[in-house]
């Protein structure tokens, strides 16, 4: 048998990886398509450094919610209350920082405290109290869902109404602007002003560092897999992957660096996502969340407390709601009774677009962030392109539906090895043709006999089924062929 030429083999291998992992790549493709479409519609403004930075900042509060929501959905639950909970906590912190604690601290120290210290202390007190509230609320939600067995849809729907009311009470139905400079910095500030040429210095340094780390860790991981005796990809493929990753980081670094660098919002998002990614992939507790979602009965039988896990997931969701609410309030530099609606739905949509399974057990937090970026790109891009604002929700809904449809249709994707298929096709082509012809002939004969109501229909039916079976078997053999199967013949 003839050896396949290396360039063709390389391309086929890349395609195999792509097709085998199509589920993971789906949303990246969606993102690229969206980026391209809006770049064209806005004459390139969409991807300019300023707009791209703004886009990431606008995405921050949704990303943080989506991370928590992914875990909620992974455990087969839902949380509808996070939007108004976040908005309420934002209001709680703003009102505390602006009014309550400065007054309290002034009274306490008889006005001796410096304004700067007071504003910092106010923020700290407000956040700590908000944290206590949200942990309590999360534990209560988790308790009702896990122990009392109230469906999470109902528990959190009730919560949604309650927090909407609390938000209106806290803000007294007015928009309250913020004036605390430290608080405002969270929403509109950037990490540094240090420039290298025209670019933001810190971004360049961090970006370069990240690229270096990617290179080093890729090699370390590959080395380790070799040591553990786990199969590694060929060098050409490995290099492609690393270069691809480096390219993405470089583009990101260049785009962000050309404007004002890394915002606090972006930094918080990255830290939160980083922690959660680590938590869900490396810790015992994190992995158990996925076990509970994938098969609760089996998890219980494996000695995992399903109730405990669900409570933890709701508490984590609460903490993230607080972070999200604070980010949003400081980004808009006010708190308002109008904050909150649709946040939870954006978060849920982001998780689904990111491939989280509604059946539980599957979903990556990083992908939920990409899902958030997809949603906010649509919003941002359509506004920028001057599309009628009424169209936006329609497009958003359609994209969500398409994402879930894509997920369903790719659920049973099996691994393919196009190189193996190439060899198998060559080898089996005669048998394949023969079986196909026999199948078509049997089908025709049967159709004819059925149409003419002949007496031997049953016999022909049987012939047809066996021809069909043979044809399917050969197709399946080609489909499941692997390159390894042909190594002997190639030598």
């Amino acid at each position: 048998m003839k050896q396949i030429d290396p360039i063709r083999k390389y391309i086929l291998t890349l395609l195999s990886i792509f097709r085998t992992n199509i589920r993971d790549y789906g949303m990246y493709i969606a993102l690229i398509v969206i980026f391209v479409i809006f770049s064209i519609l806005t004459n390139g403004v969409f991807l300019r450094p300023m707009n791209f930075t703004n886009l990431l900042n606008q995405t921050a509060y949704v990303s943080v919610l989506a991370v928590g929501m992914t875990l909620v959905i992974v455990t087969r639950q839902i949380d509808l209350s996070v939007g108004y909970l976040g908005a309420f906590l934002g209001a709680f912190v703003v009102v505390g920082v602006e009014i309550t604690y400065p007054e309290f601290l002034t009274k306490l120290t008889n006005g001796m405290m410096s304004a700067q210290l007071m504003s910092i202390l106010s923020i700290i007190i407000a956040i700590i109290l908000a944290l206590v509230i949200t942990v309590g609320v999360g534990a209560l939600k988790g308790f009702l869902v896990a122990k009392v067995k109230v469906p999470s849809f109902v528990v959190t729907l009730a919560g949604m109404f309650v927090f909407k009311g609390l938000l209106m009470i806290k803000t007294n139905n007015r928009t309250i602007p913020t004036s605390n400079t430290f608080f405002d910095k969270i929403g509109v500030g950037y990490l540094s002003n240090f420039k290298i040429g025209n670019m933001d210095g810190l971004t360049l340094i961090l970006g370069s560092l990240l690229m270096l780390l990617v290179i080093v860790f890729s090699f370390i991981k590959r080395e380790k897999n070799v040591r553990l005796g786990i199969k590694v990809e060929p060098v050409s493929l490995f290099a492609t992957k690393v270069f691809f990753l480096l390219g993405i980081i470089f583009l990101l670094m260049y785009t962000l660096g050309s404007f004002r660098g890394i915002s606090y919002l972006l930094m918080i998002t990255v830290v939160v996502v980083g922690i959660y990614h680590y938590f869900t992939t490396q810790t015992v507790l994190g992995r158990r969340i996925y076990a509970v979602g994938g098969n609760p009965e089996a998890a219980e039988l494996s000695g995992i407390s399903v109730e405990k896990i669900i409570i933890i997931v709701f508490v984590s969701m609460g903490v993230l709601s607080l972070i999200s609410g604070v980010m949003y309030a400081s980004m808009l530099q006010n708190t308002s009774p109008n904050h909150g609606p649709f946040w939870e739905l954006y978060a849920i949509a982001a998780a689904y677009i990111g491939g989280t399974s509604a059946n539980g057990g599957v979903g990556k937090v990083v992908n939920a962030v990409v899902g958030s970026i997809v949603i906010m790109s649509l919003k941002n891009g359509m506004a920028l392109a001057g599309v009628n604002a009424n169209i936006e929700p329609i497009v958003l809904g359609t994209v969500l539906l398409l994402a879930v449809l894509f997920d369903i249709y790719t659920r049973n994707v099996r691994a393919v090895d196009l190189v193996g298929m190439f060899y198998a096709k060559n080898k089996l082509q005669d048998e394949y043709k023969e079986a196909k012809l026999a199948y078509i002939a049997a089908k025709k004969e049967l159709e004819l006999a059925t149409a003419n109501n002949e007496s031997n229909v049953i016999e022909l039916e049987y012939q047809f089924t066996s021809a069909q079976g043979e044809y399917n078997r050969i197709k399946d053999r080609i489909r499941s062929a692997k390159e390894e199967d042909f190594l002997n013949e190639l030598r």
């Binding site: 553990l228 076990a291 000695g303």
Partner: protein, 498 residues
Amino acid sequence: MKSITKNFPGVRALDNVDLYVEKGEIHFIVGENGAGKSTLMKVLSGIYPYGSYTGDILFDEQIKHFHNISDSVSCGIVIINQELALFPDLSVYENIFVGHEIKRKDYLVDWDETKLLAKKYLDMVGLKIDIYEQVGTLGVGKQQLIEIAKALSQNVKLLILDEPTAALNEDDSENLLKLLVQLKKEGITSIMISHKLKEVEAIADSITVIRDGKVIVRMKREEINEQEIIRNMVGREIENIFPKRPKYVEQEVVLETVHFNAFDTQKNRYIVNNSNIKIKKGEVVGIAGLMGAGRTELAHSIFGNPRKYKISGSTIVFGNVVKLNTPQKAIEAGIAYVSENRKKDGLILGEDISQNMTIAALKKISNRGILDFLEQALQTEKYVKDLDIKTPSIHQYVKNLSGGNQQKVQVGKWLFAEPKILILDEPTRGIDVGAKYEIYTIINDLVAKGMSIILISSELPEILGMCDRVYVIAEGVQTAEFLIEDATAEKIMEKATL
């Protein structure tokens, strides 16, 4: 285990059971369906916790109280249930260690060590697969081995397997048995529930036969003999609990399957393998076989294939080749299927009798899509009377009826659709003797009117007492066909336990 007794509401599942297993042996527990084998193993493994049964469990000569499954696992007792406790979305190496993860610093998963050990345990069970594979994509045979690898990783001393080979094909079964023998050499004791007497003969060191919650006999390796086991399993004489009926069988064949196969893509095997059955007018045809043999799957495949198996071969109803690819089409062709699980698949428990009774043929009581409730009530009254359903009113909720009456509602529901062929899947499971008799009487009345009935049953006396003819199925393959005059419980059991 000493004098274990366990009650469920209304039933004594285990009655003073003594089970004795020696260290390092392979012990089989055999018995008919519902004899109490699985219940006994669930007591032993702590799934039914200490306090929910009476009697003592002695392990390594010590009395043990298992309050949950973790307690028994920490003693080295690991059970592998029929329903595998795996996580389909997770990888092989992760599945092996879920719940007893290899830790670093108490809270981090040590993935390197996990992967290395996973490889080691996979080697031990002789499974040559990539540890990165998703468990959900593997066949049942491989999943079974992963469960055993999981047990090994928990330092198992006593391995309990509940019908491990029921879902496996021959090669996989053989592999598994070899593995058990090899584990025995390494000092691991096994208890295995199995219906396949060939397996018992092949590797058992000793067996216990259980019937109706009682231990009938314990045999040592030398004493094991297939005929003897079957006699002890079946045991009872057929009492006169079946109403007599004359032969109503006519020559006309109403339903026939030709080279009929059903392939389950999830289990990746044929669950119906080359079935050729014929049902004549006025005939009661029995489908006998053990649980998991593919009886229900055969019924499903004929009745419009609701589980979406890959079907090949042909179905012939009243002389026409038909494609019954939805239950709707099967109903239109005159077939009805009374499900084995009336609560899950058959009845809407929170609705009343009249709703349930008419749901399968609402067209009959509606006019241009508008329901005629008077007609519904009249029709329901008629069936309630015909089937002698004991209820204060036709508006009684079905969940408030007794098991026997629920079953009659389910039968009535399908009779209302006026089928010509009625498939009854375990129609008397979980109902008392009196209600059984009434169901049998209904069957006799129906065939007298010219209906044909397929009776699927695990209870051999029922098959022998009610059917005109019987097909025996084992592992999806039709292994025998008997006229009822020629059939005996022993003959059927022999063909059902390949």
